[in-house]
């Protein structure tokens, strides 16, 4: 490829982010990936970094050992190479700069990625999620809500999907009038219908009210939503912005609903900060977490000063408010922010997740993302910096949503069919541009790009490896007893999501994983049951009748299930897709080596704890070699002592 000046550099050092450890290997640059292969033949870890995952490349000033290259990824990976020759470093650097700034959609990985599927398989993948069926599942259309074709040609609102659901009493003129009074034409439409109380969750953008402007059609529209629900005489209008921001918008001819003009509404500000504040907050968070030898005080103070968890809690509080209004009061809720595609998407999606156990299943969660994020025009391309970036448009809005869901999985471990690795994998692919789902900013743009013909769907891919994302303690009966989740808003329930922000810093993870262990046990149990069945069938062919299996099998034999591929938390059980597979190698390289003796010697090994591993011996100044050891360092951030 023409942008690659140096496809291969040898003798490159990879420094560990949190310790003094380093490994030497070869750096390869391909059209899609930056690959590091460790030269040490016994471990030979490989790191594959997709160009799209790279957020920034930085060349640091020359040192005696070479030229350092710092690569920061959108999946929070940070790699630090030292390249011996300055020239090579510069070549890699400038190639990367070009490669990670694709200028047209065609350059995105999704258009060249081919998982060896035929057209039919690809089409089936795209058909997995059907939003019309989803609205049907909610009970829409019904006697109060109908499908409107007003946006069939994207004429009323470019950033909405074609199919929209509105109250039956909302005529076309009302819809069109209302849309003209709303930012970007995003008029109030249904996003979730709570059948039990006939209460609707609707979304829109801010009204163009300025200081005094009114719009009768828009007022009618809200009244129509109100009337569609006989259980409540009023609807809640949630402005998810802080009041100050909404007031400021009035000067620009935008603003919020005046309760005097809209009868029967209860207006409420929620106070979620805007995309710029969120971007800054994440940046601060990552800065703190990236500090070497971080003290507990700096960690907690940094966590507080970043404001990150405060923002997460604000989103959660809003969703809880929404869910309470719908379930306790049976009231419909209309949610908006400024344009209605960031905070609105967060609150509507999270609120629906609290209301409906279906969204807590693997398939349901995909539907939820497809509905509230993809189809309603969350600007993934801009927010995730896919193409031609405007740094002011980038913001971790979707990441925050995933994190809110994770916080819920921590509070309700039995309520979700998926584990956190499902969320992390989705996050990975929102940025990977490997699948078509999240490309572009709106449905219309996606149709123009012919994504369904030219790319593959992430959902089909994730479903094909569903096994890896299952939550072993998921209990469907919990959903029956707790259809609506009522999370606690105590501050201490909100925690730092280590496995997301330190996914690649394996030294920080638990060395043994309960999740993996349980999944392995379940899997081996399933295999054993299969064996029992097969043996029974065999016996039957010999005419031997089988009695119900009693635990005659010596329990000894059962107590040693196949060793998990890795004990590290969260490593999916089976191999992931091609690229990830290589990364797995990197993560579990050590494990693989230890596997052989483990299976014969019956001795279990623990990540990072075998005698040959991980450079604990690499102590500066051990007694025998030097008389006065100055510093003793420990791997894994364990301890640092200065004498």
């Amino acid at each position: 490829m023409e942008h690659i000046r140096t496809p291969k550099v040898e003798q490159v050092k990879l420094l560990d982010r949190f310790s003094n450890k380093s490994v030497t290997g070869t750096l390869h640059l391909t059209a899609t990936h930056l690959i590091f292969v460790e030269s040490n033949s016994t471990s030979a870890q490989e790191i594959w970094i997709l160009h799209h995952h790279i957020a920034s490349v930085e060349k640091l000033s020359l040192t005696t050992s070479g030229c350092p290259l710092l690569i920061q990824c959108r999946n929070f990976r940070l790699v630090h190479f030292v390249i011996p020759r300055e020239r090579d470093c510069h070549d890699i650097y400038s190639s990367l700069l070009r490669l990670l700034r694709p200028v047209s959609y065609d350059e995105l990985y999704a258009f060249s990625y081919n998982p060896k599927q035929n057209d039919q398989q690809r089409e089936e993948g795209w058909q997995l999620i059907d939003l019309a069926a989803e609205f049907e599942r909610m009970g829409v259309p019904c006697d109060q809500w109908q499908l409107t074709d007003v946006n069939r040609e994207y004429k009323v609102c470019e950033t909405y999907p074609r199919d929209l659901y509105v109250p039956i009493t909302a005529s076309k003129p009302i819809i069109i009038g209302s849309s003209k009074f709303r930012s970007k034409g995003r008029f109030p439409v249904l996003t979730y219908f709570y059948q039990e109380k006939k209460a609707a969750v609707c979304r829109c953008s801010q009204p163009l009210s300025g200081f005094s402007a009114r719009c009768l059609e828009d007022e009618h529209m809200l009244q129509a939503i109100s009337k569609a629900n006989h259980n409540s005489r009023y609807i809640y209008v949630m402005d998810t912005r802080p009041k100050l921001n909404a007031l400021a918008n009035r000067a620009a001819g935008k603003g919020y609903e005046n309760e005097d003009n809209y009868p029967n509404i209860r207006f409420q500000f929620v106070g979620i900060e805007n995309i710029h504040v969120m971007r800054g907050s994440l940046q601060k968070l990552l800065e703190v977490m990236g500090t070497r030898s971080l003290s507990m005080t700096d960690y907690l103070v940094g966590l507080e000063n970043s404001g990150w968890l405060r923002h997460i809690k604000a989103i959660m509080d809003a969703a809880i408010f929404l869910a309470k209004a719908v379930t306790d009061e049976g009231a419909s809720v209309l949610v908006h922010c400024s344009d209605g595609w960031d905070r609105t998407a967060q609150v509507c999606a999270l609120g629906s997740l609290l209301l409906d156990p279906y969204y807590r299943t693997i398939k349901g969660f995909m539907v939820l993302i497809e509905k509230d994020w993809i189809s309603f025009g969350h600007k993934f391309a801009d927010r995730c910096d896919q193409l031609d970036p405007d740094p002011k448009e980038v913001s971790p809005i979707f990441t925050q949503f995933l994190e809110c869901v994770w916080q819920l999985t921590e509070q309700f471990p039995q309520a979700f069919e998926f584990s956190e690795w499902f969320l992390i994998q989705i996050h990975e692919h929102v940025h990977s541009c490997q699948f078509g789902n999240f490309l572009g900013n709106s449905q219309r743009q996606r149709e123009d790009l012919q994504l369904k013909e030219r790319t593959y769907s992430l959902w089909a891919h994730l479903l094909s490896e569903k096994q890896n994302y299952l939550n072993p303690v998921y209990s469907p009966s919990f959903a029956e007893s707790h259809p609506v989740l009522e999370p606690s808003t105590q501050a201490y329930h909100f925690k730092f999501w280590r496995n997301m922000y330190h996914q690649y810093d394996r030294s920080m993870h638990p060395r043994q994983s309960i999740l993996k262990h349980v999944l392995t046990l379940k899997e081996s149990n399933r295999e054993l049951e299969g064996t029992v069945q097969a043996l029974k069938t065999k016996l039957q062919t010999f005419g031997v009748s089988t009695s119900p299996l009693k635990p005659q099998t010596p329990p000894r034999e059962r107590s040693h299930p196949p060793r998990p591929q890795s004990l590290i938390l969260g490593a999916p059980l089976l191999s992931r897709k091609e690229v990830q597979q290589e990364e797995d190698e990197e993560v579990f390289g050590e494990e693989a080596r230890e596997d052989a003796p483990a299976s014969t010697g019956r001795e279990r090994t623990v990540e990072g704890s075998s005698a040959t591993e991980n450079g604990y011996g690499e102590l500066k100044g051990s007694f025998d070699s030097k008389n006065e050891p100055a510093v003793v360092t420990l791997e894994f951030g364990v301890a640092r002592m200065t004498c």
């Binding site: 507990m296 201490y492 993870h509 604990y616 007694f623």
Partner: protein
């Protein structure tokens, strides 16, 4: 003294009990000499049996004639009792106050408790030093069991039998003891089978301002080094604190006199600071503002997590010196009864797979805490809610359990026991029907005749029917050294003892079954 004198109203009907995460119970409240009991007198309804000894403080409130007593326990539980009738409420409150602050050890419940189960294996006889020494003998002949302290005159806080280097005679031990705070001369804490390295513990040397030295002390610890090898002295205090200690007659080992040793200072807080931390932490957890910033800043101000990190780090360091550096280690702080024991016991959990079994962990607590003279009674006399003036209370043992829990979280398949086991130990350290945690030292326990007059916690815990709920289903023994991560991102807040969640039912059950 008769308990009855303190009980003005032994029983009140129509009392309503509120507990977090649990349905309210209405029933009859009874006070006995050792318990506060609330029973609905119905089958299948839980009864409350609360040891007075577990009560840290109470608060009274009145609305009309309805009184409310909020009982705050040493194990950090908080319950509320609504009592009809002002007089009854006042009587109950003053009785509880009197009964929960009895000073005399011999009036404590363990001396009155009679087990309803048959004691099959007497916990008092389970972990005797002679047995531990037999194990050691099978590995090395460098050590001997000394009876120099058999009447506790050399060191009142040490047990009567101590493991010391074979070549050091009792006379030298006495001299070394006079050079160490509280007579706590260096003794063996752990022998690392893999490479023959050892961990010893002691109290600070009494060098004072003029740099006193003691040849016997130097000889004693040098005797643990192989020829040409050197060792590490881990002082759990910062160099500044250690310097200050000189003014009070304490101090640290001078390089000149201990040429074969390298001294490392760490910064584990003193016990009174730890107690303040616990109080602040509990306050933070009870903050009702639901504000994120407030929570994080209060959590930070409590320093609790910092303490956990520092203790774990020091323990990892000791373990690293032994296992990776192949060096022997001597650990001490000031008295050698608090931070020293946290470090030596945690290092053993990291190094020695045996300590990760239930029996092994019990043996560790017996060896490194009870026999090593951690003053349980002083440290656990009050907890986070007490209004009393703090004396020498400190959550030293709770912090140790917290650190164990952190390792357990990082190696969930390496421990035979689960979190419930740690919680159970925490609860019994503060209030118990068993005599195990009474007294401050072996000498005190002997004087109290605990092994004759009370039941050992281990006698109860080790019954198969009790053990069941303490077993970790994921346990798969491994013979490895387990190195935990001490990055702040890897350390979690141990929420269960802080009552942030619904308690697993087992904790309540054990309370019922014990009575």
């Amino acid at each position: 003294m008769e308990f009855a004198e303190l009980i003005k109203t032994p029983r009140v009907d129509g009392v309503v009990l509120h507990r977090p995460f649990m349905p309210t119970v209405e029933g009859t409240l009874c006070l006995t000499g050792h318990h506060l009991i609330l029973s609905s007198r119905q089958d299948n309804t839980e009864e409350l049996w609360l040891l007075h000894a577990n009560i840290d403080s109470i608060e009274k409130r009145f609305v009309g004639s309805l009184g409310t007593i909020i009982v705050k326990c040493k194990d950090l539980r908080v319950i509320q009792l609504d009592i009809p009738g002002m007089e009854e409420c006042l009587n109950i409150a003053s009785s509880i106050e009197a009964l929960s602050t009895l000073d005399s050890v011999s009036l404590m419940y363990p001396f009155f408790y009679r087990p309803l189960f048959e004691v099959i294996e007497d916990g008092w006889q389970l972990f005797v030093p002679e047995e531990a020494f037999k194990d050691l003998e099978s590995m090395t002949d460098e050590w001997r069991l000394s009876e120099v302290n058999k009447d506790f005159s050399v060191c009142p806080s040490y047990p009567s039998l101590l493991t010391v280097p074979k070549d050091i005679d009792d006379e030298s031990l006495c001299k070394a003891a006079s050079f160490r705070h509280g007579g706590r001369f260096p003794v063996l804490s752990y022998y690392h089978k893999k490479n023959g390295m050892v961990m010893m513990r002691a109290a600070q040397p009494l060098t004072g301002t003029n740099g006193r030295r003691c040849k016997e002390d130097e000889k004693l610890i040098n005797a643990t080094l192989c020829a040409g090898k050197r060792g590490y002295i881990i002082d759990t205090r910062t160099i500044a604190v250690a310097q200050q200690a000189k003014a009070r007659g304490g101090g640290f080992e001078q390089e000149a006199n201990y040429a074969q040793w390298r001294r490392i200072h760490k910064a584990i807080e003193r016990s009174n600071v730890l107690q303040e931390g616990l109080i602040k932490l509990v306050e933070a957890c009870n903050d009702q503002s639901h504000s994120m910033d407030r929570w994080l800043s209060k959590l930070e101000a409590s320093n609790w997590q910092s303490n956990v990190k520092e203790i774990l780090t020091t323990a990892c360091l000791a373990a690293q010196c032994i296992d990776r550096e192949g060096a022997s280690v001597l650990v001490h702080g000031t008295e050698g009864t608090d931070s020293t024991l946290q470090v030596t016991s945690l290092a053993q959990i990291i190094l020695d797979p045996a300590c990760r079994t239930i029996r092994g962990f019990e043996a560790l607590i017996e060896r490194e805490w009870l026999q090593a003279g951690h003053p349980f009674q002083q440290r656990c006399a009050q907890s986070a809610y007490s209004n009393g003036k703090p004396r020498s209370e400190a959550p030293v043992f709770l912090l140790f359990l917290d650190c164990v829990w952190q390792i357990l979280r990082q190696f969930p398949c390496s421990f035979q026991f689960n979190e419930n086991f740690l919680i159970m130990l925490f609860e019994h350290a503060y209030a118990s029907q068993f005599g195990t945690f009474l007294g401050n030292s072996v000498a005190e326990r002997l004087k109290l005749l605990l092994s004759q007059k009370t039941v050992s916690l281990w006698s109860w815990v080790n019954r198969p029917q009790e053990l069941e709920r303490f077993l970790n289903p994921l346990y798969e023994p491994n013979n490895l050294v387990i190195w935990p991560s001490v990055a702040p991102q890897s350390l979690l807040l141990w929420e269960v003892p802080l009552q942030m969640h619904e308690m697993p039912k087992e904790h309540m059950d054990c309370e019922i079954s014990m009575c």
